[in-house]
């Protein structure tokens, strides 16, 4: 069955430290991949997306993600975390032609220590 796994439910980092949030998907073909961020009480904001081409994609707020086909992964990274990055991060996939839905991971809640 198609699935998206975010193995880390909670991550705590110090401000200024680097960050990597993991996302793995289970799907036969290469899906279209997204990272969204949800701040408390807010909706889902698109950080970045991968459709094809360069496997390292840049997003907003200094985030980047790398698609690794061999590992079925799409990990999100940021070299230096800011306190305002504290939020919940969701990885999502769009499996492909024939379906419109996104499949979301369970999310990773990021806490940033001052």
């Amino acid at each position: 069955a198609q699935s998206v796994t975010q193995p880390d439910i909670h991550i705590t980092v110090s401000e200024g430290a680097s960050l990597e949030l993991r996302c793995n998907y289970s799907y036969g073909a290469t899906p279209y991949l997204f990272w969204y961020v949800q701040s408390p009480g807010q909706g889902l904001q698109l950080l970045l997306k991968y459709f094809s081409g360069d496997t390292l994609v840049q997003g907003i707020k200094g985030f980047e993600a790398e698609f690794k086909r061999s590992q079925s992964s799409f990990n999100l990274r940021k070299p230096s975390v800011h306190w305002s990055d504290a939020a919940e991060y969701f990885c999502a996939v769009a499996p492909g032609v024939g379906t419109y839905k996104y499949i979301f991971g369970t999310g990773t809640r990021l806490k940033v220590l001052a």
């Binding site: 807010q42 909706g43 889902l44 904001q45 969701f90 492909g96 024939g98 996104y102 979301f104």
Partner: protein, 114 residues
């Protein structure tokens, strides 16, 4: 920047009552979606809608749910007889294209069924 809006932001209702959640998608978008997020769980697809009909629905979207585009701007989700387990955050999304196109999400409506 155009955005998806949703009303109300919060709704409290009694079990068995009907609720209508409203969304105004981005004006030139053609595909509309509803998702829900039960507290502490992942975001789940409910339904997609295009050209005044349902394109795809999940097993969650049973006969108690319906969607409608009553005019040129609004997109609604109706729950006919709410259950306790319908308590969740409901997100509307829209996209200008189909399949893997980037979906833009609204801020959500938090529904609490008592």
């Amino acid at each position: 920047e155009p955005e998806v809006t949703q009303t109300p932001s919060h709704q409290v209702t009694q079990m068995g009552q009907e609720v209508i959640l409203r969304c105004v998608p981005i004006s030139n978008h053609l595909y509309f979606y509803w998702y829900r997020q039960i507290l502490g769980q992942k975001v789940e697809f409910l339904v997609s809608f295009y050209n005044n009909e349902i394109s795809e629905k999940s097993e969650i979207f049973d006969d108690q749910f319906s969607v409608e585009r009553p005019d040129g701007s609004n997109f609604t989700l109706k729950i006919r007889s709410t259950k306790l387990e319908d308590s969740a955050m409901y997100f509307c999304a829209s996209t200008g294209g189909q399949y893997q196109e980037t979906q833009y999400f609204g801020p959500g409506t938090r529904l609490l069924v008592l």
